[in-house]
C-alpha cells in the first residue's frame, strides 16, 4: 500500500501535525513501509472471529452517579500555557 505525498499531507492535517515540506518524502517512505508490514494481516482468515478489544474481555464497571471529584481548577490551570479568569486562552476562533 504505497501512499502518495498528498495522502501524507492529508493524514498529517487530520492528525493536526505540522510536517515540514522537506520531511514529507521521508514520512512517505516510512509510512508506506509500515503499512506494507501491516498488510500481512489481509492474508489471515478471520471469518467469524469476534474482534477483541480487551485482553480479558472485561466489561465496563459501573458506579453510583454521585460526585467523586473535587474542583481543582486553580491547581490544573497552574500548568496551562495561558489562562485568564479561569479560562484557557487560545487565539480568537469567532470573529
Amino acid at each position: 500500500m504505497a501512499l502518495d505525498q498528498d495522502q501524507v499531507r492529508k493524514i498529517a492535517s487530520l492528525a493536526r501535525l505540522q510536517i515540514d515540506d522537506g520531511q514529507i518524502a521521508e514520512y512517505q517512505t516510512n509510512l508506506t513501509n509500515i503499512l506494507d508490514l501491516v498488510d500481512q494481516l489481509s492474508a489471515a482468515d478471520t471469518d467469524g472471529i469476534d474482534p477483541m478489544a480487551h485482553p480479558l474481555d472485561a466489561v465496563q464497571r459501573l458506579r453510583a452517579d454521585v460526585v467523586t471529584e473535587e474542583n481543582q481548577r486553580e491547581n490544573f490551570q497552574k500548568i496551562a500555557p495561558a489562562t485568564e479568569q479561569g479560562h484557557y486562552l487560545v487565539p480568537r476562533v469567532v470573529e
Binding site: I11, N30, Q40, S42, P51, M52, L56, F76
Partner: protein
Amino acid sequence: MHNKTIAEISRDLAAGEYSSTEITTDLLARVKDLDKGLNSFITVTEEQALAQAKAADERRAAGNATPWTGVPMAHKDIFCTKGVLTTCGSKMLSNFEAPYDATVVENFNNAGAVSLGKTNMDEFAMGSSNETSYFGPVKNPWDTDRVPGGSSGGSAAAVAARLVPGATATDTGGSIRQPAALCGITGLKPTYGRVSRWGMIAFASSLDQAGTMTRTVEDSAMMMNVMASFDKKDSTCVERDVPDYTSTLNDSIEGMTIGLPTEYFRDDISAEMQQQVRNAIAEYEKMGAKVKEISLPNTHLSVPTYYVVAPAECSANLSRMDGVRFGYRCEDPKDIEDLYCRSRGEGFGNEVKRRIMVGAYALSAGFYDAYYKKAQQVRRLIKNDFVEAFKDVDVIMSPTSPTPAFKFGEKTDDPVAMYLEDIFTIATNLAGLPGMSVPCGQVNNLPVGLQLIGNYFDEARILNAGHKFQQATDWHLKAPQGIE
C-alpha cells in the same frame, strides 16, 4: 552499598545496619557520579528523596515500618508524580509538573519507599532503543556504544549500573522485557489489569501495563507486592486478590511443564543466542521440569497486528496534547488550527508523529474495517494460540529479544527493522499475559535474556520459576565492567 538488592536493603534497614538516609545519600552520590555517562535519569529529586528518607527513618523509629520503608528506587518518567517534572521523554511535556500522583507512585509512597527521581525513556514509550527520547539516548552500562533497549531503557540502565536496586517501568510491546534483557537484569510485565494504569501516561490503553525492573526475581516479587492493587480509578484494573508474591518463590518446580514455541526459535536467531536459551532450559530440566515443543501458529502476525492496534490507540490518546491545557505551546500561533498543528508538530518527535499518522490513517473513514477491526480479530487468534498452549504447559519460554544490545544508529533509519526487535515480546501484550525476562547467558560479553510467559494472573508461578533459576545460576549477579 550499591550492590545490595531490595531484599537485602529491607533486611539491613530492619536490623539497623544503616539508615535510609545513609543509603539514600550514598546512591544519590553514585547517580551524580555515574549518570553523566549513562543519561538514565531525566530528573533527580535529591531534596524530596532525602526528605522521604528522613521520614522513613522516623517511621521505622516509631515502629510502623513496612518491608519497603526507606528502600530507594526510581520511577519511569511516564508515571505522574505530584509537583515533579513528568516528561514522558518528550519535548511536549518538558515543562509538565503533574498535578497528582499515579496510583503506582502513591502505593510506593504509602509503603515508605524513597524515590531518587525519574528515569529516561523513549518518547511516550515509543521505541525499542531509547533513541527517541527528547532528553538524549540512554547508554547501555555493558557497552556505552550500544543501546539499553526501550522504551524503559533508563530504568533498565539505572538498575544494571547499580544506581538504584529497582525501578518501575511500563511495557506495551516489550518495553520492560527487552531492555531488561539487553541490560542483563530482571524485568516483569504483569497480566493486563493487574496493576493500575491511573496516572501512567497512556500510549496504547489496551496493551500498556506497569511492571518491575530489578536485579533479582525476589526483588521483582517485592515490588509486585506494592504495585499490584485493585484501583477503581482505572476501569480496566481487575478486582482480584493480590497474593504475597514472595511466599511462593521457593516452591519446587519439579514436574512443571515448559512449552517451547517452535516459532520463537527461528533460523535467523543466531546459534549463540539460541544456545544460551537452550542452556537455561537444560538447567530447568535438571531441576525436574519437563519440556514440550508447542506451536503458536499466528506468531508471525503479532508485529503487524500491534502496528495497527498500538498506533490507533496512541493517535486517540495523544490527541489530548494540543498546546491548550498543559505542556508545550508553539510561539505566536496565528489561529487555533496553527496552535494545534505547530504545538504538536514541534512538540512531538518523528517516531511519535509516524505512529499518530499510522493510527489516524487506520481509523479514518473507509479503512476502519480493513485495519482496526481486522487487527482486533487477528488479536483474538493470537490470544487463542496461547489459551490452547496453556492447556498443556505451565510456562512458555523463549529468547526475550532476537539479538543482544545493538549499536546506536543501527536501526534508526528503518522503523520496521526497529519494530522487529520486539518480535518475541509483542504477542504477550496482545494476549494480555504476564511475561518476564531474566538474564540467562552472554554473547560477546553482552547479556542475553530468557523470556518466561505465564498464564493469566499466574505471576507467582513465573516468579517462582525465575527465582529457582537464579538460585541455580549466577547470571543475574554479573555486573557490567567498571560497575562492580
